[in-house]
Subunit: 318 residues, 2 copies
């Protein structure tokens, strides 16, 4: 199959665009009818770093690349819009694998109301997938940034943590099937929860890609505050404790450092707490209170005995 045949096959794998799409795949650029605020992020996964062909199928790579990008829109509270996909493939790469990657990405796009509206397929030194996602909002009130955490705010997280990290341990140990493995391979961007929490008035929000320990530092740095988090409050996902024990790790430490859960970490003004928990519930999620925002800088984790632990880090910028 020639490259152009692959590009045509990819175009056929995409769902037809909605009425907001004026021009798309096949033109020099897509043309989209805009809403007042355009929310954009680019995210890249590379072979040998973010995935390994021995343990991740092309379908899983496609899912993961789009999911990670959409998670940034979730963390802003934006509505999904379009995705633009750059696919770098080694010259000998099987076209069937590339098509499977795109098909799975298209399936996630459909489920999340995202139009894959453009892209690029080029040769390169390995499989690299960059996804630029564009989301939309009607006003700044609908969105949340990273930089407005305030002293006295509650620190909270959606869902539960550690499933992806435990899943990776199992996969690397040769156990391919199971819920934890699936959590690692097909992370779900928390789009509904993000939209609901932003509208409910959280003061800051970030998605947990690098792990809570690292991502909490980003919120603290951007807000000029300190986050104190009770380790005992961490909602550890079902099954993680057993995997952690088997690997000689502490379950809560694994849950806050392993990353790629793509849950949302938020800071919530006290008076918005009830609204925020209700919003998370309505979006089909949960909100667990982890600690509070105090004066200072950085992040500290409080152990069961009350002592503070600093310096925990997740996977930073692999």
């Amino acid at each position: 199959m020639a490259e152009l045949d692959l590009i045509r096959a990819i175009a056929r794998a995409l769902s037809p665009p909605g009425e907001r799409v004026v021009r798309w795949v096949g033109d020099d650029a897509a043309v989209i009818k805009a809403r007042p605020l355009c929310v954009t992020s680019i995210d890249t996964v590379a072979e040998g770093v973010h995935f390994h062909s021995a343990t991740h199928s092309p379908r899983e790579v496609g899912h993961k690349a789009l999911a990670a990008a959409l998670s940034d829109l979730a963390a802003m509270g934006a509505d999904t819009g379009e995705a633009y996909v750059s696919l770098v493939l080694p010259r000998a790469h099987p076209h069937g694998d590339a098509l499977a990657l795109v098909e799975e990405m298209a399936a996630l796009a459909d489920r999340t109301g995202t139009t894959i509206a453009g892209g690029d397929v080029v040769s390169g030194p390995g499989v690299v997938v960059s996804v630029c996602v564009v989301g939309w909002a009607d006003s700044e009130d609908e969105l949340a940034g990273r930089d407005a955490a305030k002293e006295g705010d509650v620190v909270a997280v959606t869902g539960s943590l550690g499933a992806s990290g435990a899943g990776l341990i199992l996969i690397e140990g040769g156990s391919a099937q199971g819920e934890l493995q699936e959590a690692h391979r097909r992370p779900q961007p928390r789009l509904a929860a993000g939209r609901a929490l932003a509208r409910a008035g959280v003061s800051s929000m970030i998605d947990l890609s690098d792990g809570l320990a690292t991502d909490a530092r980003h919120l603290a740095l951007a807000g000029g505050v300190r986050l104190e988090i009770d380790l005992e409050s961490i909602p550890v996902a079902a099954g993680v404790a057993e995997v952690a024990t088997g690997a000689g790790l502490d379950a809560r430490t694994l849950a806050v450092t392993a990353g790629e859960d793509y849950e949302l970490l938020v800071t919530v003004p006290q008076e918005r707490w009830d609204a925020a928990t209700a919003a998370a519930r309505t979006a089909g999620s949960t909100l667990s209170r982890l600690g509070e925002v105090v004066a200072g800088e950085g992040v500290a984790f409080r152990e069961g005995d009350g002592s503070l632990r600093e310096g925990l880090r997740g996977h930073e910028h692999r």
Copy 2:
């Protein structure tokens, strides 16, 4: 230097954003005040395919990656807006090289009124730069697509062709300095000409990245028409004939197949021809009449003796 230090250094290299930028680098996503139509394209350059570290400096790679992406906005007639950059670097890659790449990209962004509003730096199997560019327009009348060439339209091209291809031959032959080499290394997106031509009512437009022979086929296919082009009408750039002769090539064949000139190929309704040539001139460019749009399909080049030559191809989808 740690990765985070590189990211901070990159952020410092970027010019501060304009008032339309609500949030940018440092948040989960950028937030931009939209205009009615959002025009978006993603473009990728990879080491060993689109450039070689032996012949292209990091600065040239940065320039080329953004220039190629902006050229897609030129081909639509859109105003420049924002760029989102994904930078994939091998683990041992010198941070100084990465910073030089971004600095040169930032310089081109400044010159073209583009804000680099977000990005991503990750490890990977080689240097790969993906740039997603977002442009803006107020109405569809301001833009031109690929698909509306009509029988009887004039086929025309801006500027002159072959400089980039001749420059590459010289560079590969060990001659690093000169105007042709510079044309290859630092192509200029024809943004002003693209805007002016779209507003002047060209029926279709495409930028010449793969070479006129291939890109003309894209216009013909999208419009359901045939393009007949007089080879003797091709505006060959100064100095290209000498390089072609030295390499045993025909200058016009080189000019229509070598690609990466980033000039604009247009089809123009007869009654818009005067307006289009005036628009190109006002934008500091020229418009050369190459031939015409006829019924049928594909592209044919007319030789000096009147015979038609088909099957010429440029660099397709490297």
